[in-house]
Structure formats: structure tokens, C-alpha cells
Amino acid sequence: MRESRDTMERLAAADPLSGGERLTPDEEREAEALLARLLATPVSAEDRRAPRALRRLALAAAGVAAVAAGAFVAVNLADSGAPGPGVVDRAVAAVAAEDVVFHYVERMEATVPSRMGEDMTVYSESWNTADGRFHQKRYTSPGPGAELLSDFAGRRLPGRDLARALAWDAREDTIREMGYSFDSGPVPNLDPLADPGAQLRALEEQGRLRPAGPTEVDGRRAYRLESDPISRPDEPESEERVIFLVDAETYLPLQKRHSIDTGVGRATLVSRYTVYERLPLNARTSELLALDPHPGAKCSRTTVSADELGFTNPCVRP
């Protein structure tokens, strides 16, 4: 009787290629032509290296990119039994204020395939404002007395794609002028140096991030906001996914996990936020948005003004 047949048997019998995958002579000729074309396609050393997605992640973990850590905003879902539409709108209402400094402390752990280098952990502290100022410091370890690896501060100005910034690097003890822009491509990451709420709203509206149920992080009630698996058009061998974990009770962000699977290797970048808070924007907190003093540091050809940076350029004499 048809109704009682096993579902998988019925499905197998419905295979549109149930006649087999054998090639006709014409199809075999087509295959041979494709093989010849492929073998004639030059393969560069760049092509043969690890996928770009993994290299990006390794660079991010190494701190080679000016700023690579992600931030996310908390979403208060404590008053609702389950996440749903409008979750991010509420988060935006909570955080997208003009007179606010977003401040967070992050521990970022990168696990990369062995041939990409070693696993590593980076600690950072960041501040940014709705008017475009930002500052991030990276350390080798957490807590007071930690060795500073890099210092990066600047400002976005309306109408400019590239923010102007100064970067100090511990290895060379030099201050350099840099640009900063953020483009995560198809992966729904957040620009760590911009208002997270507005970004989350945009990602939700675009369908790139969706609430995905309750969870728990270290005993705290949380919700997941996650992306679908994403494959970049130029890297179809890789699949990426981003998951944000959001504290349901306190609005505090808890964790972000970005994973990249190439089928033969997996890399993950896990960010844990030990502090995420909104500070009032005032004279004291404005000072947190400037590059730290680095007495004795060399200056490398920088002329950018205080107006553009949002703080005085220590390499430009008044």
C-alpha cells in the first residue's frame, strides 16, 4: 500500500536521475572539454594558499588589521517569552542615543587551522560615539599592567567613506596616520567602532540576522541572534556563520562566535564581552576617545588635524 511505504523509499524512487548518472557520448565529450579547459587554467600561488576567509580571520586575530574585533548590542528580551520581530528595534531604542559613549572590554580567542598559524587570544578595550569618534587599545593579557600592543583612535566624518585615524604600534613605537573603513561583505558582522544598534537593525531588516531562540551563557539567560550559513561568491569552498549571544536580563552583550568552515579546516573567532556599557558623553569620557600619550614615540608623516581626528594630533606642532 502506497501510504505505508517508507518515506525514504518513496523519495529514492522519485529521484529525477533514477536512470543513473551515466554520461551519454555527447556528455562525455563535454566533460573532456571541461577537463582540458581546467587543466589549462593557470593556478597562482595566491589561489593555492588557504582560503581568503581564513586568512582574513587569522589577520584579525593577529591584530594586523587596524581593528578587527566585533561588538554587538544587547537585546532585552526578558519581558517576552520568545524573541520575535522588533527585537532589534528595542535594542536600538536602548542604545542609539546621541550623547553616549559605547564602551566594551573584549577577550577574543582565535582558533585557526595549524597551517594558518597558532591559536591566539587578544584582549581589547574600545570606545566609540554616535558622532563618529572611536578608540581601541589591544593588550597581550587582561587586567591592570597588561602590555599594550596597539592603540588606534580617530573619527568618521559625514560624507567620507574613510575615517581618519592615528595608530600607535608597540613593536615600532611609532605613530602613523591611517584610514579606517569597515566592510564585512556578505557576513553580518558589526563594525566594532560604530553604533551597534543601528547596525543590528539594518542586518535584521535585510534578513541577514534573525532571533534564534533562548540559550544560557555561564548561567545567564540569553538569546541567540544568528546568520544563515554564508558562502562568499568568490570562495564557494568556505562557509561562514555568525552567532551573537545577548543577555536577556541586563542588555549586556555576552558573546559573538564567527566560524569559517572550508570543508578541510575550521577556524573560529570567539569574542567574549566582560564589559559592555553606555557612558554619558562628557568632558571626562571624551578624553577616553583620544589616542593615549606615547612619550618618546616616533611620528611617521602625519598631518591630520584635530578637527578631523576629534583630538589633538600629538605629531603636529600647534
Binding site: 524512487a13 522519485a14 529525477p16 536521475l17 548518472e21 579547459r37 581546467l38 587543466l39 578541510v264
Partner: protein
């Protein structure tokens, strides 16, 4: 003696071309399928050092993403559903009468499932992969795939019985309509 890069790729291509082509043809019209096969093997050629010892699940995984990118870039999201529902082109079996009607009904039900469920079912039922290999092709762990397959099978069974039953399966336990 270690085979040259070209020889290794040629062996890979000859052994798996038909299977990858079959994978693509089950999911896309012939012209798109052929493009996807070419792109899949181009990735394999470039990344030959990364291709695992058991290459077929890896190739299926690449082909899946290539097809997904094709659909996204050309807004062809509904093409597969239409194709599965219509089931009018690639069949070589020429099922007559009731058998053809049954196959079309099953494919139409399959076409109404979510892509992830559909993929799990197709990898096992049409491509004959074991759970472990299918999991690699789907890009998830074996345990995750087992759960996904179990649920997909239940949803397909429900679709075959009644589309409403399938809707109920997609909701969490305890969920109910208020009106």
C-alpha cells in the same frame, strides 16, 4: 612516484564528474547546473592541496554553495522549488502512469520543504551518502545531521500526508493558534 598535480586532478575529475553533475542537475536547470559543475571543479583545481582523501562530500559541499550563490545573485530563489514541483525535465526513467504521479507528488512535497531539510533528504536518498559523508557535504557535524535528517524525514512524511500537518511540525511544542 607521486603523481603530478595534473594527474591527481584528472583522476579526481574522471572519478567524480558524473556524480557532481548529477548533484547539480537534481537542483538546477541544465545550463545553471553545467556552470555550477565547471565552477566546482575550478575550485577543486585551484585548491587541490585542500581536497580531502574522500573528496565527494567536499565536492558536493562546494557545488551546494556555488548553486546557492547562483540563486542569490540571479534572484532565482524559487527556481528549485518550481523545478522540483514540476519535475518535468531531467527524468530519464520515464515513469508511466501512477508511478510517475507518485514521483511527482513526492518531488512536489520535497519542493515545499526548507532548503536545509531538502538537502539532507536528497544527500541520503538520491546520492546514497552515509550519515557521516552527508554531514560533511552539508557542512555540519554528524550528530547535527542525524537530527536534521530525522526532522526532515518527518516533515516530508507529513507533507506527503497533508501540508497542514507539516506546518504543525515546524512550530515549537506547545505553540498554538489563538484564533
Amino acid at each position: 612516484m607521486k603523481p603530478t598535480r595534473e594527474k591527481r586532478f584528472e583522476g579526481l575529475f574522471r572519478e567524480h564528474y558524473a556524480a557532481v553533475r548529477g548533484y547539480a542537475l537534481r537542483r538546477a536547470p541544465a545550463d545553471q547546473a553545467q556552470d555550477a559543475v565547471a565552477e566546482t571543479f575550478l575550485v577543486a583545481w585551484r585548491r587541490l592541496d585542500d581536497v580531502p582523501d574522500d573528496p565527494l562530500p567536499w565536492l558536493y559541499g562546494v557545488a551546494r554553495r556555488v548553486l546557492a550563490n547562483q540563486r542569490r545573485s540571479a534572484s532565482r530563489g524559487a527556481a528549485l522549488e518550481r523545478r522540483l514541483a514540476a519535475a518535468e525535465t531531467v527524468s530519464r526513467s520515464g515513469d508511466p502512469g501512477e508511478r510517475a504521479g507518485e514521483a511527482e507528488a513526492v518531488r512536489a512535497a520535497l519542493g515545499r520543504l526548507k532548503e536545509r531539510d531538502r538537502e539532507a533528504l536528497m544527500l541520503v536518498a538520491w546520492h546514497g551518502l552515509s550519515g557521516e559523508r552527508a554531514a560533511r557535504a552539508a557542512g555540519c557535524s554528524r550528530a547535527t545531521f542525524a537530527v536534521r535528517l530525522h526532522r526532515a524525514r518527518a516533515r516530508l512524511a507529513a507533507e506527503l500526508e497533508s501540508p497542514d500537518a507539516a506546518d504543525r511540525l515546524s512550530r515549537p511544542d506547545g505553540a498554538m493558534e489563538l484564533n
